[in-house]
């Protein structure tokens, strides 16, 4: 079949044949980081390797000196924004923060126009956080500079998944066969999607755990081998890494589950953690709601990697920005 040709069908045709050529065919900057899905295996390995180098070796020179990075944040964020900012500055780049509440975005300027404005002012790269899934893709379609997704709606949070993956790799020889249990509000979670995609790509066995209202069955289709389990207590003994996700009380409103029931069935307590293998690790992308998805004892326990995740975030984001802007450390 020639590219874009529509077959004259005498029987049912596959819709795929009509437009598959255009699927993910839009040209964006090849050093953009839009989602885990569009990263190659080689990209993933070199990003993780580069992050490791940043963790071990202190930076002497400023490989991104003279480069400008715009941080375009349509949603509030503490760790992702600070982490990208610190990463950029430590590489010698300058940063500009544009937030939705203190800019022309409030006056109704479109995303495309906002991005074009930043690029025209000399931004070499835009790091974007946005409540709409796919917003980074809109920018990437229109701008010639690399776009880094710092979290888009319910879609993906690729830098978080890379830092989570890096953090796990510091504790485990290999990700092959690693049993990852992602627990909580999977449906609304971009962290869950990115981690499931990334870790299953690297050979981990991914299980989602949560109530139907927050974890639809369709979630298991996100990557080959992903499973859905409802019973947290039965899932725990098979987990090497337990990744807890934030559960917002306001999201439970109107669903078939109350906060009390959620805590009863899915809160990670010391008693529950005892069901998991002794070496199982606990992770959380933050912000944590202590007393909701996990207790303080667990969050602050020796098995919790929460602060390591934050620390590694800066190194991973250095690697991401360096890849985006093509510098060498």
């Amino acid at each position: 079949m020639t590219r874009g040709a529509i077959p004259q069908a005498s029987s049912k045709i596959q819709s795929r044949s009509i437009r598959s050529a255009s699927l993910r065919a839009f040209s964006h900057h090849s050093r953009s980081l839009l989602d885990i899905e569009s990263l190659s295996d080689a990209d993933i390995h070199s990003l993780l390797k580069e992050a490791g180098r940043f963790r071990r070796v202190s930076i002497q020179k400023a490989p991104l000196k003279g480069r400008h990075i715009a941080l375009l944040f349509y949603e509030s964020s503490t760790r992702t924004r600070c982490s990208f900012e610190l990463a950029a500055k430590s590489l010698g780049a300058s940063t500009t923060l544009v937030s939705a509440s203190a800019s022309s975005i409030e006056k109704g300027e479109s995303l495309v126009d906002t991005g074009a404005t930043l690029a025209a002012m000399g931004a070499d790269c835009i790091v974007i956080r946005h409540p709409s899934s796919g917003a980074p893709h809109v920018l990437a379609r229109h701008l010639r500079i690399p776009i880094v997704n710092a979290g888009d709606g319910m879609h993906e949070h690729p830098s978080q998944a890379l830092l989570d993956c890096y953090t796990i790799s510091e504790h485990r020889q290999s990700l092959k066969g690693l049993r990852l249990l992602l627990v909580g509000d999977i449906y609304h979670s971009r962290v869950a999607r990115s981690n499931a995609l990334l870790l299953s790509r690297l050979g981990a066995q991914v299980t989602f755990c949560g109530p139907p209202a927050l974890l639809p069955e369709v979630a298991e289709t996100i990557a080959p081998g992903v499973r859905v389990m409802r019973d947290f207590d039965r899932a725990l003994p098979q987990a090497d890494v337990i990744m807890m996700l934030r559960v917002q009380k306001e999201r439970l409103a109107g669903l078939q589950i109350s906060a009390d029931e959620y805590v009863r069935d899915y809160q990670l307590t010391p008693e529950r953690l005892a069901l998991a293998p002794a070496k199982a690790l606990v992770m959380h992308p933050g912000p944590m709601v202590r007393g909701m998805e996990l207790t303080s004892e667990v969050a602050d326990s020796a098995r919790s990697l929460v602060l390591e995740q934050v620390r590694n975030g800066v190194a991973v984001r250095r690697a991401i920005l360096l890849r985006a802007l093509g510098g060498r450390a």
């Binding site: 874009g4 004259q8 069908a9 029987s11 819709s15 437009r19 255009s22 709409s132 809109v138 971009r190």
Partner: protein, 427 residues
């Protein structure tokens, strides 16, 4: 609009595409005074001073009829006007289009209904407004159906804002029955689909987009069929898109309920996977569905459960589609690409495609003088070449809008001439 050549029109050496004619025989057709004056075997009509179309084997079909288009006028002329929308219709072979009432203001009055049909709109083809069923399409108070029909409305609907209340839908069906017009329902329980921007399925989950379930469509269709059964009125389901809703229509028909339905070309050809990386040209309402739904729609067309193809031509300005997926408006254009997609669904059988594009819609609306090729019928005709390959190019489109997933795609089957009341429409 009409001028220049007032001579009778002779179409020579055409293949006639209507029930009961062998498609390979060659015919000549003469139109006069806006009607079909003669259909004879090729060579039997002596050439006088006629305007001549050498069809040379083109298929001549009754003019296509689209029961579902958005012409955006009054109020949203940056998207489309009646003049540009009907120019696109003519290019796609349509001689009658039914204009939906979700204009600004909503077409809920005889005044707007007449305004849309006024010569000042410079329509290239016949425009039959479908008026709002309730005032402002608010779903609360019925419009004056009789006055609307007297003003030229062909049916009533609150398209885009479904009639949810049982009591008001019941009243609408009773009032429409009195006048012999259908109530057209955009079947979507918006209480279930709120915030949904694409079909609820694996692609929506992967992309982190909120889904519209099949159930949101099927439940309204089921409710409406019960009301249509009770009132013995005519219910027409717009742009049906799911297995479940189709099954409801099929069962309703078996019970003898007067329910008809239409399907769009894009639902026949594309699935939710085509949204790909947030392609807003694939954001429609109802959304592109699953492969199983798509296949069921083909079956529904072939077994006659679906009466016709309607495009749901929904033009939007580029800057409106160039947004975050969840902010972009729903809709795709469709008038200029309907024929090749109908031919594809028909497995290349011209008669079948013409049934879906012309005979079917005319029959379900009860229109006797169009959608038919016989001496004395209105000479609204479409001449097409079922084999011609062409590429749908944005810059060649007659619509003001460019929001189509088919831009740049190669098609087979192209409209060559569109004739309205016996006059060739200028391209």
């Amino acid at each position: 609009m009409r001028r220049a050549d007032d001579r009778a029109l002779l179409i020579r050496n055409a293949r006639i595409c209507a029930v009961g004619k062998a498609a390979n025989e060659r015919f000549d057709m003469l139109t006069d005074q806006g009607r079909i004056a003669a259909i004879e075997p090729h060579g039997k009509i002596p050439n006088k001073d006629y305007q001549l179309i050498e069809a040379d084997g083109l298929i001549v079909s009754p003019g296509f009829i689209d029961l579902h288009v958005h012409l955006r006028e009054p109020g949203q002329t940056h998207k489309e006007t009646i003049a540009t929308g009907t120019a696109a219709a003519a290019a796609g072979g349509f001689t009658t289009v039914c204009a939906m009432p979700n204009t600004n203001p909503i077409n809920d009055s005889p005044e707007i209904t007449r305004w849309m049909q006024a010569p000042e709109r410079r329509a290239k083809v016949k425009v039959r407004p479908i008026a709002a069923a309730t005032l402002g399409s608010q779903g609360e108070q019925l419009t004056d159906f009789r006055a609307l029909v007297d003003a030229g409305a062909a049916a009533v609907t609150d398209d885009g804002r479904p009639i949810l209340g049982d009591a008001i839908m019941h009243k609408a069906l009773l009032a429409a029955k009195e006048l012999g017009i259908p109530v057209i329902q955009h079947a979507e329980d918006t209480r279930m689909s709120q915030g949904g921007v694409m079909h609820a399925g694996r692609t929506a989950f992967r992309l982190g987009l909120r889904g519209v379930t099949a159930e949101a469509e099927a439940s309204i269709v089921a409710r409406d069929i019960e009301l249509a059964a009770e009132t013995e009125a005519h219910l027409h389901v717009a742009h049906i898109s799911t297995v479940a809703a189709l099954e409801n229509v099929r069962n309703g028909r078996k019970r003898g309920v007067h329910v008809t339905c239409e399907v769009t070309p894009h639902h026949l050809l594309l699935t939710d996977e085509e949204v790909g990386d947030y392609d807003t040209n694939c954001k429609m309402n109802p959304p592109l569905r699953s492969e199983a739904d798509r296949e069921a729609l083909w079956d529904g067309l072939r077994d006659g459960t679906i009466d016709c193809i309607a495009t749901d031509h929904a033009p939007h300005a580029a800057h409106e589609k160039d947004q975050e997926f969840d902010r972009a408006p729903f809709g795709t254009t469709g008038l200029e690409t309907a024929l090749p997609i109908a031919l594809m669904a028909a497995g290349g059988e011209c008669e079948t495609a013409v049934r879906w594009l012309s005979i079917g819609p005319a029959a379900l609306m009860g229109w006797k003088d169009v959608g038919v090729l016989r001496v004395g019928a209105v000479a609204d005709l479409t001449l097409f070449d079922p084999e011609q390959e062409w590429i749908f190019r944005a810059e060649e489109s007659k619509s003001k809008a460019r929001n189509s997933p088919f831009i740049g795609k190669r098609f087979r089957g192209r409209v060559r001439y569109t004739i309205l009341d016996g006059k060739l429409i200028d391209p």
